[in-house]
């Protein structure tokens, strides 16, 4: 079971375990930026605004292809990829280097969002956290 963490901690955990991630932003259901690795505030806002536009286009495209309820996406370019995952009213968007391990990145992003969504656990459950996952585990 994951321990509940705040957005900044979840972001720190994500960048620690995922070497493929370059920049991250976590946004709540109202579009409010919860945490980001982008130090410059203006750039962070531009990143979030860009993610919003990307999602709008992707949703529109998904509906035109009978793909409702978009949950996640990857836009892969030669310079890197943008990943977006929506879960529990929040979304997480990251940029990666080119040719990332797609399944692993999605797994890490969902894990990050789940760590925010988990209900508060008993104090004993907060003392340990599984850290033994190998990079090859991209099954989810």
């Amino acid at each position: 079971m994951l321990r509940p963490v705040d957005a900044a901690q979840a972001l720190a955990d994500l960048t620690e375990i995922s070497s493929q991630v370059v920049q991250v932003a976590i946004v709540d259901g109202d579009g409010q930026l919860l945490a980001t690795t982008i130090a410059d505030e203006a750039r962070a806002e531009r990143f979030v605004e860009g993610v919003r536009k990307l999602l709008e286009e992707a949703e529109s495209l998904g509906q035109s292809r009978a793909l409702p309820d978009l949950a996640q996406l990857e836009a892969a370019t030669l310079d890197g990829s943008i990943f977006v995952v929506r879960q529990g009213g929040r979304l997480i968007a990251v940029s990666t280097r080119s040719d990332p391990t797609v399944g692993l990145v999605f797994y890490d992003l969902k894990h990050c969002l789940r760590s925010l969504d988990e209900a508060p656990a008993a104090p004993a459950a907060r003392t340990t956290r599984p850290r033994t996952r190998k990079k090859a585990d991209a099954s989810t």
């Binding site: 750039r43 990143f47 860009g50 286009e57 035109s64 292809r65 030669l78 310079d79």
Partner: protein
Amino acid sequence: MMLAAGSLAGSVLYRRRAARRLERVDLYAEDGSMASIADGSPDAERLLTLARELLAVAR
């Protein structure tokens, strides 16, 4: 000489084609269905342009 030039040209073409295949947009729905939109279609190009802008901001 011509053989070497032909091999070089073929290698360049192959690499370019392989690189273009990397550019795509994959959309995943809640129900697990997925659509992959390859570079070259207008739909993909709109999304890839936005993605490139995001990568530039995130750099």
